[in-house]
């Protein structure tokens, strides 16, 4: 195993770390529109452009819908494309997200996760990206600025893999991560450039009978984005599902490949288990809250509680087997949701986890904790109460309240 590469410790907020990752990843086109709390990403990147530090066409589009359209079109032309957004911007792109995944364009996007209106709220929660979980995008969530940096870099490799060819969104919690300074270990430009490489295009058969690189090329014309009627649409969607399946392996491979260079690995790339081997009570969460939860778990362990945490780094594709085996011996699980699905009997992560546990050999108790909406801060004491509830469930042998709202004034 080669030795880990030399890295530089930089003081970067999440947004700045993302911008730096993009700077190093030989990105060809960045088409983006500013929205709090993503603005620092585009502002920082603009500085790189203005100072001639990157070889990138930076397109200051006039809306997020155009940002995704331009990114998709640039990607279809063969360029490596990146964009970033949050909240309403992501919602405005909704239509184009489906088109991008349907066109199998490996666009990478950072989402500074922020609440959706109304009422207007600029702070962090997952309602924006959760609302896009059906869009055919790979979805990953970073726990800290370091991971945001590492994941954006890995995202290019994951997206461009010929067995995947799906766009990837990397979420970092709005303000909590996007705007908070951390020590970030950054690899050298050369190492990152070597890791991401130049975008390799798969071959595709065109209507002229040519087997040629999948891009808009006047020498080898092809038609992309046709109308597919009832007799063909379904088959294209099935192809996307297969790509998601392949992504499960590719994400793990890229995670280990990156670990060889950087010394950093995020669980197996899909999920990160913390003190779960012998845990009786466990919580599941995404994003920055996991950091606080780990200290809560440590404190509980000190007090002799067999507590554990499962962080979902990848939410799409859903790592079904990994989640099932991580929770195999856990007796009570609290699924934490930083978003809601109104009228849906709980939050989106709760739905998915509870659903995949239906076929498990041993089904634990599963409850839902909805928390942190609109950037509502959750204290370690409040977070600890989740485990207290789980212990109470085990003692009573039943669930009193399936859905909790943590920190809500009731």
């Amino acid at each position: 195993m080669q030795s880990v590469a030399k890295q530089e410790t930089m003081a970067l907020a999440g947004d700045q770390a993302v911008a730096y990752a993009v700077k190093q990843s030989d990105v060809d086109v960045v088409a983006a529109y500013p929205i709090t709390p993503q603005t620092i990403i585009v502002e920082k990147f603009s500085e790189y452009v203005a100072n001639g530090e990157v070889e990138t066409e930076f397109v200051c589009v006039e809306s997020e819908h155009s940002a995704m359209a331009a990114s998709l079109a640039a990607s279809a032309t063969g360029a490596r494309a990146f964009t970033a957004t949050a909240s309403a911007g992501l919602a405005l792109m909704h239509e184009m997200l489906f088109v991008t995944s349907g066109c199998r364009a490996p666009v990478v996007m950072a989402v500074a996760n922020r609440a959706l209106s109304a009422p207007l709220n600029i702070h962090g929660d997952h309602s924006d990206s959760m609302a896009q979980r059906d869009s055919g995008w790979i979805q990953m969530y970073a726990e800290n600025a370091q991971e945001a940096y590492d994941s954006v870099i890995q995202a290019f490799r994951i997206a461009e893999n010929s067995g995947v060819l799906l766009p990837v969104m990397v979420g970092l919690d709005g303000f909590t991560l996007s705007h908070t300074l951390e020590n970030v270990e950054a690899l050298s430009d050369a190492d990152i450039k070597a890791f991401v490489g130049i975008r390799k295009l798969p071959n595709v058969l065109t209507h002229e009978g040519k087997n040629t690189a999948f891009r808009l090329d006047p020498a080898n014309p092809m038609t992309m984005g046709p109308i597919a009627l009832q007799n063909y649409y379904f088959e294209f969607k099935r192809q996307q599902e297969e790509a998601m399946k392949n992504a499960l392996d590719v994400i793990q491979q890229v995670n280990s490949g990156y670990a060889e260079v950087s010394g950093r690995s995020y669980g197996d790339g899909l999920v990160e288990a913390y003190c779960l081997e012998d845990a009786e009570v466990a919580a599941i969460c995404l994003g920055s809250t996991a950091g606080t939860m780990k200290t809560v778990v440590d404190a509980l362990r000190q007090d002799g509680v067999k507590a554990g945490l499962l962080r979902l780094r990848t939410f799409r594709p859903l790592p079904v087997e990994q989640i099932r085996s991580a929770l195999a011996n856990v007796k009570a699980v609290a699924v934490m949701d930083k978003s809601m699905s109104f009228g849906g009997n709980g939050g989106p992560v709760f739905h998915e986890v509870r659903h995949l546990l239906y076929d498990a050999d041993k089904r634990p108790y599963v409850v839902n904790y909805i928390y942190g909406l609109g950037g509502r801060d959750t204290s370690p004491t409040e977070l600890r109460s989740i485990y207290e509830t789980l212990q109470g469930i085990l003692q009573a042998g039943r669930v009193e309240t399936p859905i909790h709202y943590l920190g809500l004034r009731e």
Binding site: V29, E62, A70, A73, S75, A81, N220, P221, M222
Partner: protein, 325 residues
């Protein structure tokens, strides 16, 4: 602007192989199909086309068939210009990085009136403001034809559409045709022109000029739709001629803001006594049939008045008068 104008004869055009191929599913007599087919004969070299959702997109790309002999991308309804922006940016940077050859690749965005006047206008305005090097062609059949003839910002005053039907109380569309070409001129962009396919030589010269210009170019092309206009499919080119002769659709161009009347309209300006009444153009089109009823006489007069007013403004803008030169 090029110092050498592209010289071509009808034989030159007829000989050029089609890049918009036969076997497409456009209606018989489709004006936009003729427009696209001819415009693709005016391309000068490697070309990439992107298109908004609409008639010409749907009829030319029914999987697994395609009518495009050039690379072609469709993504959504609003996105002809935003796609073009992304393609142009990608070509630029990939050339700079030596990933593709240095040859010129022209980018053309096609959109109907929906994808230009209305849902597409934001992306168009943004792309033009950013100065991307591409040609945007509006094929204007004056309604959202592909979805069933609903009114658009380009539907003319008085026309009946499925969302502005000629009823007993409201006689068709009450609003006026958005002056889209003027809006584009107001963007201070390098090249804006209007064209009508009957005057194919004028149209194709303008296509070439639009391609040759550095920066964004906008071409507004009149494109009759026999289905939506309830007109005779055989007369699509005849209507494209009448529209100019009646001054319903004047043809002109704006080079860096300087407007110039084009020959087909100039001939009308020079011989105003030969200017045909608007009724010559309107009759025979089912979408205007109600205007010939006695109770709608005022509407017919209104349309003539608007046509004349707009014509006068075009003449003034182009530094012409309606008197003989």
């Amino acid at each position: 602007m090029t110092s050498q104008e592209w010289k071509f004869t009808i034989k030159d055009i007829a000989e050029k192989p089609d890049l918009f191929l036969s076997g497409h599913r456009a209606c018989a007599g489709c004006g936009p199909a003729t427009v696209l087919r001819l415009i693709m004969k005016a391309t000068r070299g490697p070309t990439i086309v992107t298109e908004a959702t609409g008639c010409m997109e749907v009829i030319s790309s029914i999987y697994p068939y395609t009518s495009w002999g050039v690379p072609w991308l469709h993504t959504a309804f609003e996105t002809a210009a935003s796609n073009a922006s992304g393609i142009e940016a990608a070509l630029k940077i990939m050339k700079r990085k030596g990933r593709i050859g240095q040859e010129q690749v022209d980018v053309i965005a096609f959109a109907g009136d929906g994808g230009t006047y209305d849902i597409g206008i934001q992306a168009l305005s943004g792309a033009v403001e950013r100065g991307h090097d591409f040609l945007f062609v509006l094929y204007d059949n004056e309604a959202y034809m592909n979805t069933g003839i609903q009114r658009s910002g380009g539907t003319p005053h008085g026309a009946a559409t499925t969302t502005s039907p000629a009823g007993s109380v409201i006689p068709g569309k009450l609003e006026f045709k958005k002056p889209i070409a003027n809006i584009m001129v107001a963007h201070d962009m390098p090249y804006v022109a209007t064209a009508s396919p009957y005057y194919w030589k004028d149209m194709l010269t303008k296509v070439r000029k639009g391609l040759e210009v550095e920066g964004p170019a906008f071409l507004h092309v009149f494109a009759p739709c026999p289905r939506g206009w309830r007109s005779d499919p055989a007369k699509s080119m005849e209507y494209s001629k009448l529209a100019v002769e009646t001054c319903v659709f004047p043809v002109w161009e704006s080079v860096d803001g300087q407007c110039k009347l084009s020959t087909p309209s100039k001939l009308v300006a020079l011989a105003p006594q030969k200017k045909k009444p608007v009724a010559d153009y309107l009759q025979g089109q089912g979408r205007f049939r109600h205007m010939f009823k006695p109770q709608n006489k005022k509407l017919l007069e209104e349309v003539q008045r608007i046509t004349d007013e707009r014509w006068e403004r075009v003449l003034k803008k182009c530094g012409e008068t309606s008197k003989t030169a």
